[in-house]
Symmetry: C2
Subunit: 459 residues, 2 copies
């Protein structure tokens, strides 16, 4: 074919019709969820009070390799997908690297990130089951926005518990959710037991993602016809997000390319798990052997400095416990951390793959992340989300390494979203007001002290 | 072909290689610019102190039908173009209309609007001429952002005079420009004669677009190697923006479609003039007869209630005078007007076409605009810029008319950009705090009183 274009879009016919379930090809499955009530491995029906049934099934099913994407979900995907696979010619030129750099850009939808891919699926299944309302939490606001869009589209009411500091600092994010009829509550709130408890103990708290999750789960469990939906960490979310990787792989095949290195930012793992899915499949089945790199913030280093242990997914300790790399649900990143990816744990699937040596991980300080973000914006004319810029940083570092060695490696990274709502952080960086924070071993120990003790299970 | 997809992208090979100059097919040319120094028709060299030479030539050339798009401009276009032509299946369904609705979406780039199309061209020609800096003004910030992107890409310093009220209310817009190295000054500023004069007369002023233009022009004229660039109104801008219409027309041809109605929002005319260009060509040359509709805000109604007269393009009255529909350079829209499109005049090309009966115009109140914006966002999952929502409103009204009459008309409208930086206005609308403002005849008369008197020329 002729010169590879800057932006490559699959045709509507080439869009994936099925999601890929990475667990089906894993040599060993992630350890099972533990029901905190019984301290026994959870079964599918244990999840029904929290998740709708089809999603509970997807959460537990480690065998089915492909799940059909329901037609109404495909229909909504087609409104904004395919996302472009972009060849970073200008970045390559600016870095003077022999490497070929590609990125899959998920920011071209109003939610501004890849989160919409799973939001649509989760809302659709809830609607199909006849549920009458949904709850969720949001930190930076991307997930809440995505879910508001999907809920509005499928016409089901949504309450979003938004971490209070974001609620107050990001009124525009809140307003976008309100355009899509999302009901936005600052968390902690007076509407839940856990919210009231936290407020009583610490009236001045600015909230945390773990606390917002607890409030959303409590409301879902106590409200008739209501369920909770979560934008990351879960197996079901990685399943839905596999669309990112499947599209990327098909597009690269058409272009005659295959990545030597696949790089994604890692918070709870939703983007990373989706992007790498079909490439990890090749690795697990021996078809190819790309390097796969998770990039996390140095201020919230669950893979690179966390423990591989059972932990709660929420601060309120009411969700099932998962075996994952975690800093402890009691770990709270420094308030000066602006770069997203603040979650204490990591997807159990990704944790297992990392533990078993299929994946690398690296951490970067936020000033280096923003340096990469600004550099990238100028060259590629896309203003990246700080989260995405973690992957940019690592991709640039790999490309510069290629410059040293003269290797023309093919690098693929995930550009998960845009940074329009992160300008406060950009301004802090540009004006020299941004600092790095790296937790001390003592800081981390405080988080580890919050890890649950599970009878009969040792690390 | 199979069912028309939601999003249709031209392949890179189908992208236009030339801009189309609408004037070449007009039966009568727009009246010439008047040099305010001599009160005589301006010649190309009169413009050299303000514009670089190639742009001055494009401004004055009414004969050349097609201009080659320089390769470096095409190269930067390819980073974010083609923009998608979207079939509004969900909007059609929600409105229950037999009409087919298409929109050309120009918001998928970091500047968030179509403005980038002309910014790239103008910066390229300035660089090519060896100029060493540029100035411009920005109101809502879209143009300033676009120009910052282009200036950063071609590595030429830029100063943006930003209307003070926007500078203060939209710190995030300012920050985006700073990411791209734009130097942003609140206008009026102390850096120019006109700025100091206005501040002395009215220290509390929040500025106006006309004043910011004056400051930018003054700085360009007084600074060695510096020129002024403008994002709308000018003939050269409409030429560059013809890429919108050319892509739209090619895409519709491939899909086997042709619009019965073409609708665009109208401020200075940059988007409208670009979108309609090839369809107006068909109309001027008798090949087809689509209805062409300009939509403007009821609070700044230059086409529907303005005068067709010679006027200055800026408040400072230092630019050449143009014959156009205008409310007078002294007209200032109500501060409660949130919907963009605040400019007092209208592109001379569009003014002439409207005057000669080739185009319709309508005006809409901003609450009806935001009603359409929110409705559209929910159905099409794109959060529109308020400016773009003027076109949405008119397109919805036409589609609803089709529902009444049963006609299956094909409607094309321009979705010029996204509304991420307009959430203050969205919140005002959602919370019922938005009012409409329609200027009284007395209000308009004050603006008309500012129109220049030109010896020997009567309307």
């Amino acid at each position: 074919m002729a010169k590879i274009p800057y932006r490559f879009y699959l045709s509507e016919e080439d869009l994936p019709k099925q999601w890929y379930n990475l667990r089906a090809d894993m040599k060993e499955q992630p350890d099972p969820l533990i029901n905190p009530g019984t301290m026994q491995p959870a079964v599918e029906s244990d999840l029904y009070p929290v998740f709708c049934e089809k999603l509970a099934h997807q959460e537990m099913d480690g065998e089915t390799r492909y799940f059909d994407i329901p037609e109404p979900v495909q229909e909504m995907y087609r409104i904004y997908r395919p996302s472009p696979l972009i060849r970073a010619y200008n970045l390559e030129k600016a870095l003077d690297t022999p490497a070929k750099i590609y990125y899959k850009f998920e920011g071209n939808n109003t939610s501004g990130s890849h989160k919409l891919n799973s939001a649509i699926a989760q809302v659709y299944y809830a609607k199909e089951q006849g549920l009458t309302s949904l709850t969720t939490e949001t930190g930076a606001g991307q997930w809440g926005t995505a879910l508001s869009e999907a809920s509005s589209y499928f016409d089901i009411p949504l309450t979003v518990y938004m971490v209070k500091v974001s609620y107050e600092q990001k009124p525009f994010r809140k307003a976008v959710m309100q355009v899509f009829d999302g009901k936005v509550m600052p968390s902690p709130s007076e509407t839940t037991d856990i919210g009231r408890k936290i407020l009583a103990e610490n009236p001045g708290t600015t909230g945390s993602l773990g606390c917002a999750i607890s409030e959303a789960v409590e409301t879902a469990v106590k409200t008739e016809g209501c369920r909770y939906v979560l934008g990351s960490v879960l197996n079901q979310v990685l399943l839905h997000q596999s669309i990112i990787g499947l599209e990327s792989k098909t597009a690269m095949e058409i272009l005659g390319e295959y990545p030597d290195i696949v790089i994604g930012c890692a918070g709870g793992g939703s983007n990373l798990g989706g992007l790498i899915a079909p490439f990890m499949q090749d690795k697990l089945t021996g078809k190819a052997d790309p390097r796969i790199i998770a990039v996390e913030p140095a201020s919230c280093p669950s893979l690179t400095r966390g423990r591989y242990a059972y932990d709660f997914c929420d601060t309120g300790k009411i969700t099932p416990m998962a075996k994952m790399y975690t800093l402890g649900s009691g770990f709270i990143p420094s308030a000066n951390h602006a770069g997203g990816l603040r979650y204490h744990g990591m997807s159990p699937i990704l944790s297992k793959l990392y533990h078993d040596g299929y994946m690398e991980a690296t951490s970067v300080e936020q000033t280096r992340v923003f340096e990469a973000a600004v550099y990238f914006a100028k060259k590629e004319t896309i203003l990246p989300a700080p989260e995405s810029a973690h992957a940019i940083r690592a991709a640039m570092d790999e490309a510069l390494r290629c410059k040293e060695t003269g290797e023309a490696k093919t690098i693929l990274f995930g550009l998960t979203g845009t940074g329009y709502f992160d300008m406060t952080a950009y301004s802090a960086y540009l004006e020299g007001r941004m600092n790095d924070y790296i937790p001390s071993d003592e800081d981390l120990q405080k988080g580890f002290d919050s890890l649950p003790k599970i009878p009969g299970i040792e690390e």
